[in-house]
Symmetry: C2
């Protein structure tokens, strides 16, 4: 209710959209960062003419399987990004605005502004208190994203009460310090002209993002306006009637939209016309700039160019041992040349994560054509920007840092999974193997964190070929992000390593000679070579199969037949992984791994300290084999359901 005047101005007069095609690529992007106010968004979508929404949908607000859930979900038409967790939407919007600026620089030609639109955000105090929005705000100011316009609903109320209780900073001064253009509309309840004026002024500032603070009254019109009592609770029957009367509606009626209101809000004709004109321009563009237009259309359709996988490097056991972060560099450099949609960067760790595309520029205000994003030490905003680029729809975005610091970014990575984005989180230094930096930097629980989260892939390649497979997997997935967990330390190019095998999630890397194995050793990433070492040590005593297991999720999509061909029933499985042991009970009868935090020191010594060596694994394999001579080996792949 408090934001209704801002919404009225933006949605009836300025927002470029075609309600009949909510996917039109050159639409303005609108992000409701304070997603809890989504009744407003659903109403606007309905009123502006999005036919997917009916009055019945509005009536099913927050009901199971409705189109109008408690917070906006991007699976529904007209909802650009899923919001609700505070600070995410405004940070996604930075990604959307980066996307716009980059595509405009790459595709627009004189007379052909094929990408040319604004990104608008509504947000409240909550979004601006979250650290992620500070990171994103600083980055947006640095990048001078002139087409990003934020409306800050300054209503002085949070769930707890007055913002005075905890939030008394000078918000506009802060944004000015970030390099934003700032304005204040003091009477957001009535000053519709002032809002429009500020919006137009913001549109004219091309070298800075804009924030317009609009002072409003929460629940404007209600008897309880201006208090936290209208933040989350429905109005009483009497109060509702009172509000309707005040604004000139019949209090006896509900869910009725008068014709004149419909007329003011309906954007169907205007939107149809706007897109038609744009399509016309695009057709001419396709004549004059054939290759660019073909690429543009390919990217809009989310198709990949033929043969893109062929550029990936192949490795043989004769190739030098290198860290998988290095193999990853070879992959991403190769892919970036054939996939212009690949765009991203690291959180100030280029010399460590190796994700910089050295043949492209930095994306900066004066070089928006660059594809390398310098995120700064801002992991959370980085991930939200990645999500914003993914939401834009013409990108395969990536962000990169040490695996342990995905913990700083989890709020955004989780939303990537929930939103079903194709996004790559390239996480290096993925274990105690980072060595000297010590336990504050060593991921323990992170591998299992990703595995226990729905709709996201954990890919932990053991060597170069598996790293290539990880990129193939991640990019093939249209609706699921992937976390690539990569080693700091060198790992050998393994005998038996297979791209096709890795694409299945797990495969027999090296089999036992002479029939059924006595034991199966399995692990992922840098620990697979320890399985190979242990097999070698055991060659005179046990028949050992080594299974490389880069991805649980992919393996779980294979047939039971395949899975039982890998983990043969009746054979004990011993796992080794430099991460939490808890969780491995799903696949292994016994496990080596971490049950404590790590330690600072040269990585070989750290591995030894925690028993993660080929020697120890060989010893433990014997123990497991002996143990399962006394008791049946349970089949972990067959359960009651």
């Amino acid at each position: 209710m408090g934001m209704a005047p801002i919404a009225y101005v933006l949605w009836t007069k300025y927002l470029k959209q075609n309600p009949l095609n909510s996917k039109w690529i050159n639409r303005d992007r609108f992000v409701l960062s304070n997603g809890h106010a989504c009744a407003l968004l659903y109403s606007l979508l309905y009123l502006s003419g999005h036919k997917e929404y009916t009055l019945d949908d509005l009536k099913s607000f927050r009901q199971l399987d409705s189109k109008t859930p408690g917070h906006p979900e991007n699976h529904f038409p007209g909802v650009e990004v899923s919001t609700g967790p505070l600070g995410q939407g405004i940070s996604n919007a930075v990604g959307l605005a980066i996307g716009e600026a980059h595509l405009a620089a790459h595709y627009n030609k004189p007379g052909f502004p094929v990408i040319d639109h604004y990104t608008y955000v509504f947000c409240g105090d909550g979004c601006l208190q979250e650290g992620i929005s500070s990171e994103a705000g600083s980055l947006a100011g640095h990048l001078g994203l002139g087409k990003l316009i934020v409306f800050y609903d300054d209503n002085h109320i949070t769930i707890d009460g007055e913002t005075e209780l905890s939030f008394t900073e000078d918000v506009l001064k802060r944004y000015e310090a970030y390099g934003w253009h700032v304005q204040h509309v003091k009477d957001g309840n009535h000053d519709v002209a002032g809002i429009a004026h500020a919006l137009e002024a913001a549109q004219k500032v091309h070298n800075k993002p804009s924030i317009i603070k609009v002072t409003t009254t929460i629940g404007f019109g209600s008897a309880k306006q201006g208090t936290e009592a209208v933040h989350g609770n429905p109005l009483s029957k009497d109060d509702l009637a009172n509000v309707k009367k005040q604004f000139g509606f019949d209090p006896a009626q509900a869910f009725v939209v008068p014709e004149d209101v419909k007329k003011v809000y309906d954007r169907t004709e205007a939107g149809k016309k706007a897109e038609a004109q744009w399509q016309e321009m695009l057709a001419k563009y396709a004549q004059e700039h054939k290759d660019l237009a073909a690429e543009f259309n390919r990217r809009v359709a989310k198709q990949l160019p033929a043969g893109w996988e062929d550029v990936l490097p192949k490795f043989t056991p004769k190739d030098a041992a290198v860290a998988t972060r290095k193999s990853s560099q070879a992959c991403i450099l190769a892919l970036g040349k054939v996939l212009p949609e690949l765009m991203g960067g690291s959180a100030d760790l280029n010399p460590s994560c190796f994700t910089y595309l050295d043949y492209s520029k930095d994306f900066q205000h004066h070089s928006p054509e660059g594809r390398n994003l310098r995120f700064g030490v801002r992991e959370h905003a980085m991930s939200a920007v990645v999500n914003g680029l993914a939401a834009y729809g013409m990108f395969i975005p990536y962000g990169s840092t040490f695996l342990n610091f995905i913990g700083y970014a989890w709020g955004a990575v989780l939303l990537s999974a929930l939103s079903g984005f194709r996004a790559l989180f390239i996480m290096t230094h993925d274990s105690i193997g980072l060595g000297e930096d010590g336990p504050t930097h060593q991921a323990i629980e992170k591998l299992m964190l990703v595995r226990t989260t729905p709709n996201i892939l954990l890919l932990r390649p053991a060597d170069g070929n598996e790293t290539a497979a990880a990129y193939i997997t991640a990019i093939r997935q249209a609706h699921r992000p992937a976390v690539l967990a990569l080693s700091r330390q060198n790992v050998p190019q393994l005998e038996g390593s297979s791209r096709d095998g890795a694409l299945k999630g797990a495969y027999v890397l090296q089999d036992a000679e002479g029939g059924k194995p006595d034991v199966i050793l399995t692990g992922s990433g840098s620990e697979v070579s320890l399985c190979v070492e242990a097999k070698q040590k055991l060659k005179d005593s046990l028949k050992v199969r080594v299974v490389s297991f880069p991805s649980w999720e992919l393996f779980e999509e294979q047939s039971l037949e395949y899975r039982e061909a890998v983990f043969v029933p009746g054979v004990p499985v011993v796992s080794i992984e430099a991460g939490s042991v808890t969780g491995w009970q799903k696949y292994a009868h016994a496990s080596l791994g971490m049950t404590t935090f790590g330690a600072s020191g040269p990585y070989q010594q750290v591995y030894k300290k925690f028993g993660l060596t080929g020697d120890n694994l060989a010893e433990k394999a014997k123990v497991a084999v002996a143990f399962y001579k006394q008791t049946p080996v349970p089949n972990l792949l067959r359960k009651p359901w």
Copy 2:
């Protein structure tokens, strides 16, 4: 090297410490937020006279099991908090300063400033780019923490290169917007007097935290000074010799401290004297303010008052069904009265999380005696502030939000575990049971996240008695934080529910009648009552035992005998939990739970949608029993090791 002049000024002239007792409660707190610069901290500890550190320790820098790991760890003397993950230290420092202000307000009496010290922070650009520090900075400004003094080492260099690449905001203006007192020392390489002057000016500002930007040259004195090449890499031999020569040292010598340098830095005598004077004052204080002094000393010694557990409420099955967040409220309100060290709050969710101590004030600038912290919508800073209070040593701090938003705070919660803090993370709305707010707010992977992390407890109580047990456990643990996962929805007070049982992590809530059970149903929190429902439904067909399982970690500390008495060998275990299924393979032969994200709707409908009902559990129990008639039931508690 760049920060040496600041360190020289602070550590030789201002920092109040007693190197012979690094735990002296009234010492100044020093936090090296840019923990990667820890060679400086270790040198200062050694030079100032901390006898725990020898030259050999300095030589073992970043070596396994040394006292000088790659980043500061709070287990070592003189290291207040573990730093390295950027932004944490400066945010912990806000907690330390809150602690100081609160204790001073609570304990100091005219003539007896028993708590009266500063909290100093060194930080770099990285810390100030992280969102957590923005949250903490805004909060500190709001609270007017006058005794917090931050030195910002403005060296223009990050790992990637010039800060110009990604960080061009006006930092001091931003802090001014937060309400801080800001100063700039322009030549931090030489202007020692300027640094001292700024420090003294900052000390005199009592109503605002201070930030002093000191412009320095990274690697000052090195041939590579002012470049990213000196950020992480050691200097070359030649360059090292050159540096030593420049500063008047013998380039042939290493790890030699000239006598005059020792004299300047050694604080042993001054520190001894300072503490002795303070002890004298404390003795007099104990005479004049006997009760306060007794409480003060008890808190310093981290002892709990006798009988503190007795105040906790007890529940019987006749008591009304209430949400465990409500039972939690009864517990924390009771405990807060007998434990003045209990201090905390929520991230703007008091009306939802129920952690407000209504008999105490808000902690605000004008009421530092209050114990209720209004964190604002700042989950990450909240958790770091909780860690800071825990590090202070006289608090049992808590922070509170929805369980799903622990994902915003994980960077800090993880450090709480690593640091071994007694801290409570009271996380409500812990599953799809929150209903209408929908999947963006529903925790799926969070329970398993905590379980797979070392040195932290997940406590998910099923009802009131188990909630009381959760508080007992969390507060008894001196060196391990706890996450309390609490329901939004009402749960019955269960027949058989037991505080003692819950303290063991898992126990038989309701046993099968007439001998060995056919099946064991287990779960945690709000799903335990579904087990009870299923048992009821199966009463004519199967002998069912119900095991309530609030904490894996506690259960794992019990004897094998106890564990096998709970999960009887040979009986299939079926688990149900409204969280990730992956992970439950450790204890259950088959599981019901979540494999996707949740949904928005009334919670009963959402539970039904995902098959989490007593009916479905009863059906599945039959399937499990039938399945295990065909194949042996593996003993999950006995493994090869």
